[in-house]
Symmetry: C2
Subunit: 200 residues, 2 copies
DNA sequence: TGATACAGTATCGACTCGAAACTAATATCT
DNA sequence: AGATATTAGTTTCGAGTCGATACTGTATCA
């Protein structure tokens, strides 16, 4: 009976709590709750398929009703903008307003984390990322949730040429930077070839 | 400019959110909020120095006022018991009641996590634990928070003989199991000899 | 053309949470 | 010893979260 998984859970929860406290501090001046700051951070990183209330609710673990409330607040404060999807007019699309963008640049909610990881070698971080990503994937598979990842590692990702990419699911061409954003259509590549393997 | 730390942060936050959702589900029957379940889980793991409202508030990232509220609720529901400290009568000590213990055994809030980590090799988990622990330590050092760890790795920990231990800070003898519980007096050993080193 | 599914909104009530004021016990300083 | 400061915890207040439920409008499918 190994206790390591439990210790890992404690660390993840504790670091999560600390970051939530950090987000609380970041949003204090603007009277924003942690979840609002987190929503803005997500929006800054979400790709074109993932900037909807539904995707955000899924990512943040909220119901759509709750999400709707938070978005209302962020809209009132002028930190986000909403616009309708052309093809499906039920769908609301979201983007950071310039004020929202400026807010994130000013308060730097993730600065404390970057500081805290400054002395850890990139390789150890990559190993930790790999283990946690696998945990997340299994977790989601067990609970039928969306995995949320970037194109690299997604089964729908296609490389057309040196610098041209494409999402096989949606059929769109993707720019280089776009392939590094968060997507809620992400699906783990088949288990045939594991990309990231620790030396252990 | 490496993006790995940011990806690691995303994973930690997302897994944290999922576990919060899991705690919500676990407490739904008893009308408990996630933070209440988390408090019970903490209490089940805290050592004799760390079962106070203050330590819990610190661990969960709440103010003492908020913590007091949650403890009131848990007490009303009969899930915890409070008693006074003998030496310092300002201090309230907490323990799980048998009902609280039974509750944790029934709902198994951490089961989903254990399932999600089942296929990850112990060594990879240990490496991830090591990296996250270092992140946590640095984070706390930057923000003057308590680190919260178990005896192994703590500078106050003393081994008297094969199966006899002692906390050098408090002066108490400790049983073997007790040395594996969470302590908020934990202090990282001096950086002279790093215990856990990844091969990277 | 109707039935059904889906994206998002509105409303309600229980509860969280920080801030600040408060009580009581202990520590510190002369 | 007595005054003062510090500390552990409680209480109160108000803004806001959050899930549940009911609702609106759009799309899909037979």
């Amino acid at each position: 009976m190994d206790k390591s998984p439990q210790v890992l859970l404690e660390l993840v929860e504790r670091l999560g709590n600390l970051m939530r406290a950090e987000f609380r501090r970041a949003g204090a001046d603007e009277q924003l709750q942690p979840v609002h700051v987190h929503a803005l951070v997500y929006l800054a990183r979400a790709n074109r398929y993932s900037n909807t209330p539904q995707a955000m609710a899924e990512y943040l673990g909220l119901t759509k009703g709750t999400m709707s409330q938070s978005l209302l607040l962020l809209d009132r404060r002028g930190l986000i903008e909403r616009y309708q999807d052309d093809l499906d007019r039920r769908v609301v699309r979201l983007r950071l307003s310039s004020a929202g963008d400026q807010f994130l640049n000013e308060v730097q909610p993730q600065l404390a984390w970057q500081q805290a990881t400054r002395n850890i070698s990139p390789n150890r971080i990559r190993n930790a990322v790999s283990a946690l990503r696998e945990t997340l994937t299994t977790f989601q598979a067990d609970n039928e949730g969306q995995p949320f990842g970037a194109c690299h590692g997604c089964r729908h990702f296609e490389r057309l040429s040196a610098r041209a990419y494409r999402c096989g699911l949606m059929g769109d061409r993707l720019s280089g930077p776009e392939t590094r954003r968060i997507c809620w259509l992400y699906e783990e590549k088949g288990s045939g070839a594991e990309e990231e393997e620790d030396e252990d």
